[in-house]
Amino acid sequence: MKSGKIVTYLLLILGSVIMLFPFIWMVSTSLKPPMDIFTLNIIPENLTFDNFIRVFEESLFLKWFLNSILVALITTISVLFFDTLVGYIIAKFSFVGRSILFILILSTLMVPTEMLIIPWYMMSSDLGWTDSYWGILFPGLMTGFGVFLMKQYMEQIPDDLLNAARIDGMNEFSIFFKIAVPQVWPAMSALGIFTFLSNWNAFLWPLIVIESPELRTLPVGLSFFSSGEAESQWHLIMTGATISVIPLIIVFIFLQRHIIKGITLTGMK
């Protein structure tokens, strides 16, 4: 038993090394002057914070950072609200067109978003949404993924629980908020972090829809450091990437217990 534990820990530590090595390299590169990026030391020989200073001084990095937080936060809240609601309705109500609706929503997962950019742009242009925050975030306000995920969870809530509440005279909105949501609250925190992350990293659409430098999101802004003909400024890209990972790690550290308790697709019966 004891030795089994030790083996487990050893395996986990070995895995951690593999998982962390590229990441540590990224962080280490951000602390090196450009000439030194190929030196093999994990701890930089000529340690410098120049890259960090340059990232902030030569670009609107802080603004981009805040834009990314704003966009990711708003889309996450919206996705959590709507996807949970739609998932709940599809799972717990029978109404005309239910399965068609679900299949349609699921099918939206099967078209690469790269191909939706042209019609989205046409639409945004007609409606005057280009080059605005709303333009960046409207395609992400609801996701097929979230509806699918939440439907799976909502199905596991016993019907009796909901019916009992109905007999008690609760209205449907209260039943959703007070009975259903608390049951799947952990799953929602998982959906929350996944959504936040995918919007935090979103690149192509924000790039296309934004023209003003001050509206760029972080990945879009960072892409301006690697510009084909001008040499890619890898030291600056690594720096930007290092900074941009910090909030995500912090969020995960705080939410991990919730998340792991949350993503349970079995049980409850």
Partner: protein
């Protein structure tokens, strides 16, 4: 589906109970109202933002549409589809996509389960390890792709290691035979954290008493794994496989664009995927017609695959 029938069964039973009938009538009304009010915005959203643009794409697939030209875009029937089927690169991209899915999804499920099982066995530093294994998932793909190139290049650390072990150095990303597996490896590396979270949650929910019962029956750890853990993890596995596949097809785009030696699925198209090719057709060659036709084919492919996965994976472990 089974859920639906059980709900209606329940409802027919309830209908017999006369006491409930009046209240139910009221409720029925309120429920319909609730359903349609709540679905109003989502239906508008999914129709307007997702379905209509998709139909637009499907329509463009039947046209000769140069993206830089403002029209007219003549209808050409199935010409784009015929051109695609004759196109070696497209066929290559389909084959590659299947390789990516088979190895990539299997790999991330396997390692996800392994890490989750290991983490489930220990009780100290669990949170610490979780964070470590989750870090790759939140790291910028663009930045980390360059780090991988660096690690794997001819003079990189991995080749240093191979030489020190007395093995020949490998070309990795420069080789048309190896590059695709290297990229799959990087994708698995990045996705383990995501799968780990899903599986940890699944494991947490398996009642301890099932294992105790198995112990009493004298089951070996291996038997316990196959007869208790795997069946009870089945819903997680199905979900992970479906979502992993869909994600893989979409996410592979960024990885391939950033890790392949020429930034577009090389060398010699050995790492190109359907999505990367669609992107190139539309935005590098400005042939939106061909790109849209390829999108339709991809759509049908994923649809078939999803249905297949849901069927096979749920049946296999039925208990």
């Amino acid at each position: 589906m089974t859920n639906k029938t059980s709900t209606s069964n329940k409802q027919t039973k309830e209908q017999k109970v006369s006491l409930f009938q009046k209240i139910r009538g009221n409720h029925k009304h309120q429920q319909y109202l609730f359903v349609y009010i709540c679905l109003l915005l989502p239906i508008i959203f999914f129709l307007g933002i997702r379905i209509l643009p998709t139909l637009f794409t499907f329509n463009v697939g039947f046209r000769d549409w140069n993206l830089l030209s403002s029209g007219p875009h003549p209808f050409v029937g199935l010409e784009n589809y015929v051109a695609l089927i004759k196109d070696e690169v497209f066929i290559k991209s389909v084959v590659n996509t299947i390789v990516y899915i088979v190895f990539g999804v299997f790999g991330q499920l396997l390692f996800g389960i392994i890490v989750a099982l290991l983490l489930h066995k220990i009780n100290r530093f669990v949170g610490f390890f979780r964070v470590i294994y989750f870090i790759p998932y939140v790291t910028s793909i663009v930045a980390i792709s360059w780090v991988f190139q660096w690690i794997l290049m001819g003079n990189g650390v991995i080749n240093d290691l191979l030489i020190n072990l007395g093995l020949p150095p490998q070309p990795f990303l420069n080789s048309p035979d190896q590059a695709i597996y290297v990229i799959i490896g990087a994708m698995i590396w990045q996705a383990i954290g995501f799968q780990m979270v899903l599986f940890l949650a699944g494991l947490e929910n398996i009642p301890q008493m099932l294992y105790e019962a198995a112990d009493i029956d004298g089951a070996t750890p291996w038997q316990k794994f196959w007869h208790v853990t795997v069946p009870l993890l089945n819903p997680t596995i199905v979900f992970s496989a479906v979502i992993g596949t869909i994600n893989f097809i979409q996410v592979s785009f960024t990885q391939v664009m950033n890790m392949s030696v020429d930034g577009s699925g090389g060398p010699l198209n050995s790492t190109i995927t359907v999505v990367v090719y669609i992107y190139q057709l539309a935005f590098r060659q400005f042939d939106l017609g061909l790109a849209s036709a390829a999108t339709v084919l991809l759509f049908l492919f994923i649809l078939a695959l999803t249905l297949f996965q849901m069927k096979v994976l749920t049946r296999k472990f039925d208990y």
